[in-house]
């Protein structure tokens, strides 16, 4: 028996790729309540679970200057008691129906989600409304939660990745809306009062600024009826907008935070890039797959595959309402820090012109994005998040159903051009958190200017 025929099957070549059935996103039914709250539902009956997700179109970018962290702090306070109930009583009521409360504060939005067994759906929705619309926001809870959040900041000082994330956003955006992480900083947390929390809740948690997403084995009319009962008394009011008039800073090209004794360097490289509404969205998603968005991407094959200096490296365009960062994140062997910076920058630069995206690379990227697309929509939570994105960024009705054909239609040239338009090697900023010598020749050879030495708290 020849090796190629071992096992009675043909091992001389891999089975050919077969076409993937076209993916269709479930129909999203939309209604708007009298107070302005959108109710968007999608049907899913694989398991007896229902997921609610309230999307509020304000996030950390809506934090006032000096009160960085206010939106996340306010969100954290929501389940600290509601109406006459204490924090523990609210949690107890959720726990008794096995419901999970999840909150997620991003730059552009706050998501408050509850999932439960479908037989408890009415109770779960009522509790979600109590939490979001009628939080107690008591002084005593405020002080306790502030203490916890300050302690969290202390603990993050132990985590090089968290230090890098926080400082890097500050370097890129300064005082502009994306210049801080949702947690905020010590000074801004200390500057807040419970009245700031109450005022923020007042002006941000408004039915006209929110959409209730529901996914599960319950029909749209029933969902609307339940939503009406739970959220009908929520008051409307004028909307507020996110300030977007603060100029972006010009950071040093190379920044270092010393971390003596650290065996690895935590590295961030990037610049402010592009917003979610860009017409280049699909081309950039594809470009990122080739550059650093998957295991077989250029930077990962280089830094992990060839050089073996890291466990893994990723790049991403963070698509937000306003231009968000393009970001490369990696943790490397400390001796290889300068090498990792130069190789990463070279890869980012090369994809624009010197080594344009090839047809075969694009084919791999497209396949990875499209052939497995359906598995992104398997669970209630995945579907609810997808509908939430539609609501948040006003995505067209057919966005998910059209994603695959749009990506498949891309050409290598379009993808390279989009990368060239939105990646700018001359503006790349690098941040190192690690045990490195800033004066070493290796850093000098990077030609990124004199390294700026920072402390985790100096910024």
């Amino acid at each position: 028996m020849s090796p190629a025929a071992s096992g009675g099957v043909d091992r001389s070549q891999l089975p050919p790729l077969r076409p993937v059935p076209r993916f269709t996103f479930p129909r999203v039914m939309k209604s708007t309540m009298a107070n302005g709250l959108g109710v968007w539902t999608a049907h899913h009956d694989e398991v007896p679970i229902t997921e609610f997700m309230l999307v509020v179109r304000h996030g950390a970018a809506s934090d006032p200057i000096g009160h960085e962290g206010l939106s996340a702090f306010t969100t954290d306070m929501l389940d600290e008691g509601s109406g006459p109930f204490s924090a523990l009583e609210v949690s107890e009521q959720l726990a008794r129906i096995g419901a999970q409360l999840g909150v997620d504060v991003g730059a552009d939005a706050i998501l408050v989600g509850v999932s439960s067994l479908t037989r408890f759906v009415e109770r779960a929705l009522q509790l979600l409304a109590d939490i979001v619309v009628r939080p107690a926001l008591r002084e005593e809870d405020f002080e306790r939660v502030r203490r916890q959040r300050l302690n969290r900041l202390v603990q993050l000082r132990d985590m090089p990745g968290a230090i890098a994330e926080r400082v890097f956003m500050r370097l890129l955006f300064g005082d502009a809306p994306y210049g801080h992480t949702p947690l905020g900083g010590e000074a801004s947390l200390n500057a807040m009062t419970v009245d700031d929390i109450r005022a923020f809740h007042q002006r941000t948690f408004r039915p006209g600024e929110a959409t209730l997403v529901a996914v599960g084995d319950v029909d749209h009319d029933t969902m609307c009826r339940l939503a009406g009962a739970a959220f009908g008394s929520w008051d409307g009011g004028p909307s507020t907008s996110v300030r977007d008039d603060v100029p972006l800073p010009v950071p040093a090209r190379l920044n270092i935070i010393a971390r003596p004794g650290a065996p690895q360097s935590e590295l961030r490289i990037g610049h402010v890039a592009v917003s979610r509404s860009t017409p280049d969205y699909h081309a950039l998603v594809a470009a990122n797959m080739v550059l650093g968005g998957q295991y077989v991407s250029r930077v990962n094959l280089n830094l992990r595959g060839e050089k073996g200096i890291t466990y893994g490296v990723r790049t991403a365009f963070e698509f937000r309402r306003f231009p968000g960062p393009f970001l490369l994140s990696v943790s490397v062997d400390k001796a290889a820090t300068a090498l990792a910076i130069s190789e990463s920058m070279k890869e980012i630069s090369d994809i624009r012109q010197a080594r344009p995206v090839s047809a075969s690379e694009l084919a791999i990227g497209i396949a990875a994005l499209t052939r497995g697309y359906a598995k992104n929509f398997e669970t209630c939570d995945q579907l609810a998040r997808a509908v939430a994105q539609m609501a948040l960024f006003n995505l067209p009705e057919d966005f998910y159903s059209e994603f695959v054909p749009r990506i498949e239609a891309l050409t290598p040239d379009e993808v390279t051009q989009a990368a060239a338009r939105h990646l700018d090697p001359s503006r790349l900023t690098a941040l190192v958190v690690g045990d490195v010598d800033p004066a070493s020749q290796e850093f000098g050879r990077l030609e990124l200017g004199v390294p700026e030495l920072l402390s985790p708290d100096s910024i």
Binding site: P3, A4, S6, G7, G8, V9, R11, L14, P15, L17, R18, P19, V20, P21, E46, V47, P48, I49, L88, S91, E92, A95, R96, I97, G98, S115, S116, L117, R144, R147, N151, R152, V154, Q155, R157, D158, M159, A262, P263, Q264, Q294, Y295, V296, R304, G308, I309, T310, Y311, D333, A363, A367, A368, R371, G372, Y373, A374, K375, F377, E378, T379
Partner: protein, 419 residues
């Protein structure tokens, strides 16, 4: 071979468990099972290049993981790419060795050393599990070391050992395959047979059997690059699926799951002496352990934390759970079981669950009975189990303190070496 049809999404999960983990290693050779998992992604005889590329190109997501008891590998593929996943998995099960070279071995060993730095050495409190396992289990017990292994052992590992390891553990007689998703069971079974039946079964693997017992309270400390000291307490508990296992799962849930839990209420909400708490049982084939942790809020000591933790444990042992806690525990267990059924593959999805039951119990259809174990827990069985296992004299207390602050450890703790 286990097949489960689920037609909700046009995808199929392929999941393979090899019944080998770090418990099959010996002192001086730790970390090998996990290092070997890496080698499984580096190519096999008929596809002697990266394992990821053709599968990702076909739209698959895939991964693998190693723990003390087993190693698993999975792909989730579009329904039309099932055959590719079977081809790839069967090729590395049947024909890995001709492609397993010295160079690949050395390269992956370096990747694992980096993984160790990133996930253990460079992570705050990241060495806690090493210190805890080394103290809970005696030197020659296979749970004495962590799955990532010791640096010196990894550096000394040789490619020849990898070949031996493969022959012993990576063959059909030590593996279980589960498929779940959008396929027709009859024709798919024929396809699975075609790809796997020609692979020789390999030698029987003798089960590792070892017992462990703590005969005294042990106090240890470790210095780390952390701002806030943290206390870990751990006790040995019955093996996975053994009598008492479900009781201790529910007990740790009511102690530490969510804001209603007793430890959160007491240490974080009321006394405000801790920034965070946790408690869970790590269930394993030979012996499990319950571990609790609490991080000291600034100005508070690990001794205060220990007093509060132990008082809450003692209270549960003396009075048992309340009716409300029992009701909550049961509905939460049911919800968690149903949540896990939402996915066909990946870690914890349907196919992974089928293989877990098959590998550990030889009972792939154990799902309902497993849920039943939790439904049958009573007030008195939970109380009695806590009282029996979470005792004072058979406990490890690990203090992790900022460098140079040994004074912050629980008094009379001794230094523990991790390497």
């Amino acid at each position: 071979m286990l097949l489960h049809e689920a037609h909700g999404c046009p995808i199929v999960a392929v999941n393979i468990w090899y019944h080998v983990g770090s418990k099959n290693e010996t002192p001086g050779h730790t970390g090998f099972a996990h290092l070997f998992e890496h080698l499984m992604f580096e190519g096999s005889q008929h596809h002697d290049k990266g394992f990821f590329q053709p599968l990702q190109a076909a739209g698959a997501s895939l991964n693998g993981s190693t723990n003390a008891d087993r190693t698993n590998y999975w792909e989730v593929v579009p329904a039309t790419a099932l055959e590719l996943a079977l081809w790839m998995e069967s090729d590395r099960m049947g024909y890995l060795l001709p492609a397993l070279t010295e160079q690949k071995f050395v390269n992956q060993r370096d990747v694992v050393l980096n993984e160790r730095r990133q996930n253990y050495e460079n992570r705050p409190y990241g060495l806690a599990s090493m210190a805890m396992l080394a103290t809970l289990f005696p030197d020659d017990h296979p749970y004495h070391w962590t799955t990532i292994g010791e640096i010196a052992d990894l550096k000394a590992a040789k490619v020849d050992e990898a070949h031996d390891f493969f022959r012993r553990f990576y063959h059909p007689a030590n593996a279980s395959i589960a498929l779940a998703g959008d396929f027709d069971a009859e024709s798919t079974l024929a396809l699975v047979r075609a790809y796997f039946e020609g692979i020789a079964p390999g030698p029987g693997v003798e089960r590792v059997r070892r017992t462990a017992a703590l005969d005294e309270e042990r106090r240890i400390f470790l210095e780390d690059r952390v701002e806030l000291p943290r206390l870990y307490l751990a006790w040995l508990t019955p093996a996975m699926f053994a009598s008492g296992d479900a009781e201790l799962d529910l007990a740790t849930d009511l102690l530490a799951h969510g804001k209603t839990s007793r430890l959160y209420r007491r240490l974080v909400y009321q006394d405000r002496i801790a920034t965070d708490i946790s408690a869970s049982q790590s269930s394993r084939e030979m012996s499990s352990f319950v571990q609790m942790s609490a991080t000291a809020a600034p100005g508070h000591t690990l001794l205060e934390l220990q007093d509060a933790l132990l008082q809450e444990v003692a209270k549960l042992a003396d009075e048992g759970p309340t009716e409300v806690e029992m009701e909550r525990g049961r509905v939460q267990a049911e919800t968690q079981f149903v949540q896990r059924l939402q996915t066909v593959g990946g870690f914890g999805g349907k196919s992974d669950q089928l293989n877990a039951y098959n590998t550990y119990l030889g009972r792939p259809d154990y799902f309902s009975e497993d849920l039943g174990r939790y439904a049958r827990v009573t007030h008195s069985s939970l109380q009695a189990t806590v009282k029996h296992y979470l005792t004072d004299g058979q406990r490890v207390a690990l203090s992790i303190v900022p460098r140079g602050r040994l004074d912050l450890a629980i008094p009379d703790s001794s230094s523990v070496a991790v390497s």
